[in-house]
Every structure is written in structure tokens, then in C-alpha cells.
Symmetry: C2
Subunit: 674 residues, 2 copies
């Protein structure tokens, strides 16, 4: 690569881009780890994007109508940190850059949402940022249709590398974006032909340009180091009504002796290499020293959006009061003021009518009353709409011909759906929920974990949550998936027992601000177990006494979801034998664990024998069976010990022994033995 | 659709295909659930494939050189069951077909590997069969290079629907297959334009033909109901040196009133609809009645491969003795006779030399001595070769120019890798292992679960297994992933503490026949903790006493992997204070749980306080802390309560309190309190 020629062709541009490159070199050297190559390779693209196109105001990083910039190849985090520091984001100080990858720094190894302004999403697990971006761009379309172009009119820009494009989720993302004709989504492919193992051709020869075309994208191919070509390509991409992919031929670790090698992908820390590279760049200042004129040019870029931002603020102020209020409410993730009363009314109606319905149907009943009053909800399903019961009458299907639609047919793309939902949530002013079968938690896992890590309130509607789904068999029957979601930090796993608990769970999911929710819902019909109306949300306590022991309390049955009715049935059997039996419904372990010791002790006192019933594996239950004043000799579990089978649901419950009689039997044996 | 015209054009073909269609209608009606549409739509393709191309012998379904047939759109299971029954597979009786989706039947809702011969893999979770097929085709290439074309020379045929092609894993699979130029892989795309939610165009407008071309495939488009076109397309596909995709325009639920609708995708059970459809087909016999002449034509098809099979057997018998022996050994999944001695020798050397290495490096040390004696191993990594330490000197990189190579650069495709490995294992005569970072278990989950469900010994090499990976931060640091794998039935999760345990774990993984293994390996260096050589495999017991208490046994420390050294350090501290402390290493919970009560009691006696140490979440540990004679008041845990952070590993261990001092402190407090 003729660095000299690049420098001379566009000297001002060159030095601005060099600032990114040298900050990267210095930070990676100081940390003695990280990835130098991608920031060095993509610095020109980033410089042109920020200088000429990206709508942002560094002094007001939360401006809702800013363009979004997503670094999907998150290992190149120093690119983002450099840009934020250079353009003058207040919280991205030089000290933060110097503390790259150190304890407590905002400059984590990969960009972490919430650490600093300007980090729109957490990236690192490849493909996620790209898949999030579909949600960001969808959010923009939906909000533009809702609040009008004067308030919502921005682009979503994505940087993505070979890794992002090899990951399967990229296929789901780009085909969904192509289908939805998300014209304001613009992806820059860092086509550097290098991965960690070596040349891309070691493992891939995909024609990415042809592939994006096949998905309905507008595609261009440019030299990723030519600022004029970059600018022109962005202009064209912005004009296209289709999502745009700009394949940028770049050189990883540009200008260093590791250029165009997999070594250049990683941490360049050798002092000589760094010195030589800086010399080639024409960079003469010391580590972390940005010449004042260059810093000032970058800060000017950081201020470029100020006028546009203030004009936007005036437009918002000129909007009608109710629009302003709704804009502000959704931005603050505040639920509708009517939500609480709406939920209470439904609960009352259900406790009185006592319908026997599947909780997936209960969920639909909730959504039917909630969606009309919370216009920020955006529903969807991965091609199981009729099974997940996620579509309500008022939503309307979202596509290019109906941008007001609030229901997304995500297609058979559980992973892409989950990641797009995260993007919808991250964009702001949207509360996304989406459904699939619970067994396919497996497909959505990478994005579900990131929702938890980022602390965003995405709602995963997981129906057909046990062997209760019946004939489809073990591939479709979750047994370990409750444990999987419960093992994940910062995740609320709700497994409601009936429509009342489902309504309570939804209320909690829709008021959450920093925690994703997993709703575990049945295929099969369940009786109403909450037959006495209570205005307070009992699910918010995580677990509660549903039925008290009659007479001396000898046994406590704990259950969730579809097994609560079995516990009640077992209680009937035991009470008839004079065995006082309490039933505890535990719709959300995580919330119960957060209750104070007094409450937990009241629900789960020491003394009685305990049997837990859940049509899943035991993992995790020992906390409640043996812990919390429990004892090994006085506890047992009714559930699954392996995978399910294909047969009608009642047969499966019988064959796997998840029955009231078996539960009662375990209680009798424990009482006899203790 | 003009059914009359189809019938008249090819009457013999038509009736054979109608047998599939009517068996499907009858079975789904009897089960009152299932999927009628796909078998009805793909019956013509299946008939031509089985009649004219598929190399198989129904009387010898395990013939190793048979062509493989994979129904990736597994919900169309009645297509496969019909074919197996019609062609005369002994175990696929008419009674089995009649018992479709009932308890104990071989005819599960989705095809389950192991239920009946001819089911080459479990499908249902969409995209998996297609992704498995890449492994099947790779296995054929590898084995052909190894044993010669006379013994190995067959095709892999796949049926896949829109769902399979929308799933992200399909992208990973087809780009990997395209890159590897798997010319003997032939995929039929059931292009019926319908999904569960409605028309495909509700969620997707991908040009699948262009997409496969972009991935380097040979592509054709045909009428999927024209037997001549189908035959010609297969001839051309077989001749291509590239993998082939045949896009077949079909009509879902062909000939019924539900044709070309999403209703037709599901269970057609209406008696009138079924009667009308059969009438249109010209089918006059009763439910489950196949006219003798048609059954006999199908059985003839089932015998078509007999001569080829016997000729193959002769060629095998004519092979050299050592080739025959190796062929038989690998087919039987028997380990090399030298494996045990090789592992013992390495263990001895390590116990003497006591190297301090990361267990990912230990794993490489094992593979360096094992790969040369077990030629059935096929290694790989999802673009983290140097980090996973999965490549050994003798393997050679597998690609189109080196079919003898036993190392696959899977690319940044964790899911595709895991599914391809399952295919390699299912094909037979191959023991696949492949690496990625443990946090990316999330990406590979759907295939890891299927390995467990199918009972195949795929080996997942998961390195960087905790916050010990350091600066890359929480996106790359597993905390819940040990729990996730442990929650999955039929999965051995090995977390070895040093090179000796790593060698033992590998020995168990490489001798397993019906259980996948997850190897949880560190990035960071660990001291050798097994300093006294023992010939027996202690890891096979799951847990064992690594260091006995000196004096009265007051505490038991349990730990796995990198935390075993911390437990030993804590023991030192406690012993100095006169607190007799035992250290139990628990490299594999599942194997420990299988030990008899006497052994478990010996390792974990009641009485002493217990502290478990693991750099992951607590979920699951209560079984060993509170169960197995443990008590809540006498047990505690040192580990993670949330996600990790970006910082050097030693800092993270310190900040998250996973230290010997903190462990010792918990013991002191428990002893003071009890």
C-alpha cells in the first residue's frame, strides 16, 4: 500500500483518520491486548462518515433523532472510542482511552452499551450489531410513521467485518431488512480478506455483493481508503429506497508491517512496528497526543449537528401537547398510565369467569387490552403467529406498504428476530415482544444473553413450554430451557399458571426498564387457579402462597405454570388423607430471590416436607428444595430427567410421572421417612 | 393444479407418488396432528430420487456406502416414514405408520435418529438437517480419500424447505459447502412459497437461486412435479463438481382443497377433504391400504441396490486386512487399542514434569499424541485455531485440494460447525471435534442439543471458559454456560483442572459412543494439580478426593477447572490454621452423579462444611452443596453472581472475589456459625 500517495491525495482527511489509527495503536499497546487492525483499516470510512454524513451532536449524545452508528465488528472497539473522544463526547476522556480494557474503564474490550454515550449497542459476538441494526432501522420507520418525519428522520449506519457476514444471523438480518425495504439502513462491509485464522479464503469464498443483491439490497463496491469514493457511495446509499451495502476494499492494519495479515487483526504492540507505522503516517507526536489542530477539526465535526439538533428541538416544542407527552413518555420507557388499571380489570374479569385456556392464549388476552393503550409495543413471531398468539387485532402488519403496522412477520428467523427486537428496544420509544417455541430459545440465545447483559426490556414470548406440546416430540419440547434462562443473569423468567398470573407477568415485563423478560407459556389449556381477585400483583413477589394448608401444615408443594394445577390436585388428594398441604406458586424465581428474608420465610418456612413440580429438569430447584430452610431428607422433585417424546400431551404427563398422584406419593414417602 | 394431467402424463410414477401422499393423509388423520403438506408436495421428487438415483438396499439399511437421504424439513416426517415402509425397511411396519406420533412408536412427530433405520439424523429444528448434510458430505470426502473410492463413493441428498433456508444456519452451511466444493451434496429446495404464517412473501423475498450461486453452488430450477425434469436435474447435479441446489417449484398439499395455502402446511384431517383428494389422485383403496402392485413396485425399488451392495461387500472383503480392520473399527466407534496406553504415558509425563499451562494447551498436548493413532478424528475451529489449540501437526487442512486433510477451517460459523460435526459423527467412521470460545456455546446450542438428543459423541472444545479470558470482557466471558450444558440431558461436561485431567477427559470423550462431550478449557495457565501419577482415569468417576484433610476433616472444598488450584491454595491457608480441609476435584458432574452411593458418600461425607468454587453462576451447585448429605447452614459458594467485565484476568478474579483468601474466609465463617 502506498501510504505516501494516500497522505498526499487528501492530506487533511489523512491526518484526521491517522488520529484514529494512532489512538488505536497507543491504546492497544498500553493495554497489551486488543485489536488494532480493524480500526486502522476502517478509519477512512469512519472519518468520511462522521465528517460529512452522520447526524449527531457530541454535546447532546441522546438526541433522539440522531443517526445511529453501530460497530458490529465490536473487536475494533478502539475505532469507536477514538471517534467519541475525538469528536468531544464528554464522558470519553483521554484517560478513558488510556485505560482501554482496564477495570472500571468505559473502554471495555468490546463496546458495552451503557458504558459511554455513543455506544448504541453491545457488540463483540459477531453478527449481533448487524442484526440489531435491522431493529434500529425498523424502529425509525415505525416511529416516523407515528410521530412524523419532522421528529423522526434518521439513518442507521453499520460497520461489519467478514466475521459478521459469515455468521448465520447475518443471513436472517439481511433477508429481513431486504424484505422490509429498510432504505435508511446502510452497512459498510470491511472487505479486508483477513480473519483470525488467516486469509478469508481459508474458509469462505462467498460473493458477498451477489449475496446482498439476492436479498434485495442496493450494493456498491469501493476502495475503502478513498475518501471521495466513500463520500459518493454514502450519497448514493442514502438515496436508495433499499437497504444499502457498501463493500469497501480495505487493508487491515493499514500502513504497518502487519498490514494484510492475520497478525494485523490482533494486538499490535511491538514498539518498533508502532514507531514505523506512525512515521509512515507522518505522525510525529507522542503516545496519546493529538495535535491541537487535528483535535480541533474533529471537535468541529462533533459540533456539526448542533444547528440541526436545535431546529429539531424547536420542532418538538412546536408539536401538539399530546404528541410531546407521548414522545417523552415512550422515550422515558414509562408505561401508559392506564396499564395498571387495565391489568387489574382483566384480572378481575378472569378471576370471576375462570376460563380454562392455554397461557399462550392468556397472553393474547392480555395483549388485546394492552396493545391499544401502549402504542410503543411492537409484536411479532418467527412464523408461529397462530401458535404464539402474538398478533392482536389493532396492530397491523408492518411492511414497506404499511409503516404504521406494529406487527412483524419475522419469518423463520428466531435469532434474527431476537437481535432485531434488541435493536428496537435499544433505539428507544419501542417495547418489542416476539414469539417462538420455547425449545427454540436455543436459536435465539446469543441475542437473549445480550439483552440481559445490556439491561434492556426485550420480551421473549416462549410458548409450547414443555412436553405439554405433545406430538411434535423431543426436538420441540423444552426440558432444559427454563434452567438456561434462569441461569442467565439479569433475566426475569415468568412461568405463569393461568391468565391472572399471565396478566401480572406482562405488567411486570412492560414496566421493566433494565431487564429482559422470558414468558414461558403453555400450548395446553389450564384452569384458572387464581379464583379470588386481588388487586396487587402477586407475581411481583416471585412466589406466593396460592393455597394454604388445611390443618397442620405438613407439606409444601411448589410449582410453576402448567404444574400449579397439578399441585392443587395433589393437595386435594393429600388433604383428603389429612395431610395439611400448602401450594406455592412460583411464577418468577428471580423476583422471589429478591424478596426479603421475612417474606421468603413466610412462603417457605422450615419444617414441612417439600416437593417441587415442574415439567423440566431439576437443575436450579435445589435452591428452593434444599436451601431456604429445606432439607435433603425432606425434599423431592417431580419433573423430567431426560428428553421428552412424541405422543399426545396427557400420555406424556402420565408416562413421565408428572401427575398429582405421583406428587402425593412423594409427599407420603417423605413424611414416612422423616 | 391439473391433477388429471399429472396422472395421465406419468401414470406409473403417479401412483407410486400417490402412495406416499395417501399414507401421509391417513397417518396424519389418524394422529389428528402432523404436517400433510410437505410430503404431498415433495412426493414426486422423492419417488424419482428413490426409484432412479438413491443408492440403498432396504434389507441392509446400514450398508456404509449407501447414499444418505436427509429430510431437513423434518415436520414432513411422513414422507420419510412412507418411503421407508414402502421400500420395505423391516422395522418400518404398517403398524408403525398407523401409530404415527403415538407413545413408543418409531414414527415420532419429527424423524428421530435411532428410532428406525433409514433415519440418518434427527430433524425438526429447521436448518439442522441441511447443516448436518455438510458434515455427511465432508465425511464422504475424507473417508474416500482415506479408504479409496472402491469402498467410499456415495452422495448426500437433502430435502429442505423455506424454513430451512431462512434459518441463519443455512447460510453457514451453504457457504461452508460451497467453499469446500462438496460436489456430492445435492439439495432439493421445496419451493412452495408457503410457511405457517402464510405466503413466504409475508417475510421473505430472497432470491434463493442467486443466493446459492453466490455461495459457489451449482443451481437448477425445475418443476417439482415433473418426473422427467426431476430425473434430468439429478443427473446434472451428480455430474457437477460443486454442491448442487435444485429449486423445485411445488404445490404444498398438492391436489387437496388446501393446496398452496398455509392450512395445507399443517394437519389435514377433514374426512371430506381427504376423500376428495384421494379421488382426485385416482386412489380407491381404504385407509393405509396400498394396492399390491404399487407396494411391489416400491419394494422392487427397495431391492434395487442389492447387487451394488454385494459387489461392495466383495470389494471390502478383497481389501487388505489392515484396511478392513480399520474400516470395521471406525465403523464400530471403537477407539484405537493404543489410546489407553498413550493417555497413561502422557499423564505420567505430565505428573512428573508438572508444567504450568492453560488447559486449552493441555488439550493440544493430548491431541498431538492422540490424533496420530486415531485417524478417525477430524478437528476444526470456528476461526479460533490458535486460541482453541485444536490443530495438531499431523492433521493437514482439509479442502478441495487436500481431501486427506483432517482439519476444517470452519470459518466464523459456530452453529454451522457444530451441526456439521454432528453430520460427521452421524455419517460414521469419524470422530469430530471443534473449537470456539465457551461463551459462543450460545451460537452452537441448537446443534449441541441435538447431539445430546441423538446420542452421538461429538466433542465441543470450548476454551476461554470464564472471566479468566480477561480483557475481551463480558460478551466473551461465559458465566452461565457451564450450567447450560449441565442442564442438557445426555451431555458430559468436562472441566479439567490440569493437563492430567484434560488427558482423562479426552480419553472419555474419545471412547464415548452415545454421549457428546463439552470440554471446558481455560485461556490462562494453570499449575499441575495431579502430581502423583495414577494409571486409572479418576475423571471417569466424575469427582474424587484430590487432597485429603490433614488432621480432623472440618471442611470440604469442591472445585472444577481453574478453580481447583484456588481450592488447593485455600486448603493451604486453612491447614495452617489447623482446619483440616479436603479438596475435591469435580471435572464431570454427570459421571459423579452416576457413581454409586457408597462412592459419592466417600467423596462427600456429611459433617464438614462445604464450599464450592467455580468461576460461573451457582446454579446446579446446590445439588452438591446442600444435597448429598450437605446442609444449608454449612455450605457456601465462591463464584459469579452476574456478568463479568473487561480487565486483566488476575484483576477480575480479585474483584469478583474468586480467591483462596475469600474461600478460606467463607470456611471460617461457616465453622464459626455451625
Amino acid at each position: 500500500m502506498d501510504i505516501e500517495a494516500l497522505r498526499n491525495a487528501h492530506p487533511e482527511h489523512w491526518m484526521k483518520a491517522a488520529a484514529i489509527r494512532t489512538l488505536t495503536l497507543d491504546a492497544v499497546q498500553a493495554a497489551n491486548s486488543g485489536h488494532s487492525g480493524a480500526p486502522m483499516g476502517m478509519a477512512d470510512i469512519a472519518t468520511v462518515l462522521f465528517e460529512k454524513h452522520l447526524k449527531f451532536d457530541a454535546a447532546n449524545p441522546d438526541w433522539p433523532d440522531r443517526d445511529r452508528f453501530i460497530l458490529s465488528n465490536g473487536h475494533g472497539s478502539m475505532l469507536l472510542y477514538s471517534l467519541l473522544h475525538l469528536t468531544g463526547y464528554e464522558d470519553m476522556t483521554l484517560d478513558e482511552v488510556k485505560n482501554f480494557r482496564q477495570w472500571g474503564a468505559k473502554t471495555a474490550g468490546h463496546p458495552e452499551y451503557g458504558h459511554a454515550k455513543g455506544i448504541e449497542t453491545t457488540t463483540g459476538p459477531l453478527g449481533q450489531g448487524l442484526a440489531n441494526s435491522v431493529g434500529f432501522a425498523l424502529a425509525e420507520e415505525i416511529l416516523r410513521a407515528r410521530f412524523g418525519r419532522k421528529l423522526v428522520d434518521h439513518y442507521t449506519y453499520v460497520f461489519a467485518g467478514d466475521g459478521c457476514l459469515m455468521e448465520g444471523v447475518s443471513h436472517e438480518a439481511i433477508s429481513l431488512a431486504g424484505h422490509q425495504q429498510l432504505g435508511k439502513l446502510i452497512v459498510f462491509f470491511d472487505d479486508n480478506a483477513i480473519t483470525i485464522d488467516g486469509k478469508v479464503e481459508l474458509s469462505d469464498r462467498t460473493n458477498q455483493v451477489a449475496r446482498f443483491k439476492a436479498a434485495g439490497w442496493h450494493v456498491q463496491e469501493i476502495d475503502g481508503h478513498d475518501p471521495v469514493a466513500i463520500d459518493e457511495a454514502i450519497v448514493k446509499a442514502k438515496a436508495s429506497r433499499r437497504p444499502s451495502m457498501i463493500a469497501c476494499k480495505t487493508h487491515i492494519a493499514l500502513g504497518s508491517s502487519a498490514q494484510d495479515t492475520s497478525k494485523g487483526h490482533g494486538a499490535l504492540t511491538d514498539a518498533t512496528l508502532i514507531a514505523d507505522t506512525k512515521a509512515a503516517y507522518g505522525w510525529t507526536t507522542g503516545p496519546f497526543e493529538i495535535p491541537a489542530d487535528i483535535k480541533s477539526q474533529w471537535e468541529e465535526i462533533g459540533r456539526r449537528g448542533r444547528a440541526e439538533r436545535t431546529a429539531w428541538e424547536e420542532r418538538l416544542a412546536d408539536s401538539g401537547a399530546s404528541k410531546q407527552a407521548e414522545f417523552a413518555r415512550t422515550l422515558a420507557r414509562e408505561p401508559s398510565k392506564r396499564l395498571s388499571a387495565t391489568i387489574k380489570a382483566l384480572k378481575k374479569q378472569v378471576s370471576e369467569g375462570q376460563p380454562k385456556v392455554a397461557t399462550r392464549k392468556s397472553s393474547e388476552m392480555v395483549l388485546e387490552v394492552v396493545n391499544p393503550i401502549m402504542k410503543e409495543t411492537v409484536g411479532g413471531s418467527a412464523d408461529l403467529t397462530g401458535s404464539n398468539n402474538t398478533l392482536t387485532a389493532d396492530l397491523g402488519v408492518h411492511d414497506a406498504s404499511n409503516r404504521k403496522g406494529r406487527y412483524i412477520h419475522y419469518g423463520i428467523r428466531e435469532h434474527g428476530m431476537a437481535a432485531a427486537m434488541n435493536g428496537l428496544a435499544l433505539h428507544g420509544q419501542i417495547r418489542p415482544y416476539g414469539g417462538t417455541f420455547m425449545a427454540f430459545t436455543d436459536y435465539a440465545r446469543p441475542a437473549m444473553r445480550l439483552a440481559a447483559l445490556m439491561g434492556i426490556p426485550t420480551v421473549f414470548v416462549m410458548t409450547h413450554d414443555s412436553i405439554g406440546l405433545g406430538e411434535d416430540g423431543p426436538t420441540h419440547q423444552p426440558v432444559e430451557h427454563l434452567a438456561i434462562s434462569r441461569a442467565t443473569p439479569n433475566t426475569h423468567v415468568f412461568r405463569p399458571a393461568d391468565t391472572v398470573e399471565t396478566a401480572e407477568a406482562w405488567e411486570l415485563a412492560l414496566t421493566a426498564t433494565a431487564t429482559p423478560s422470558v414468558l414461558s407459556l403453555t400450548r395446553q389449556g389450564l384452569p384458572t387457579v387464581r379464583m379470588e381477585h386481588k388487586t396487587s400483583n402477586l407475581t411481583a413477589r416471585g412466589a406466593y402462597v396460592l393455597a394454604e394448608a388445611d390443618g397442620k401444615r405438613q407439606a409444601i408443594l411448589m410449582a410453576t405454570g402448567s404444574e400449579v394445577a397439578i399441585a392443587l390436585e395433589a393437595r386435594e388428594i393429600l388433604q383428603k388423607e389429612g395431610i395439611g398441604t400448602r401450594v406455592v406458586s412460583m411464577p418468577c424465581w428471580e423476583l422471589f430471590a429478591e424478596q426479603d428474608d421475612t417474606y421468603r420465610r413466610r412462603v417457605l418456612p422450615g419444617g414441612p416436607v417439600r416437593v417441587a413440580i415442574e415439567a423440566g429438569v431439576r437443575m436450579g430447584w435445589d435452591r428452593w428444595l434444599l436451601g431456604e430452610r429445606g432439607k435433603e431428607a425432606k425434599a423431592d422433585f417431580v419433573g423430567m430427567t431426560g428428553f421428552g417424546a412424541s405422543a399426545p400431551a396427557p400420555t406424556l404427563y402420565e408416562k413421565f410421572g408428572i401427575t398429582a398422584e405421583n406428587t402425593a406419593d412423594k409427599v407420603r414417602k417423605l413424611l414416612a421417612g422423616s
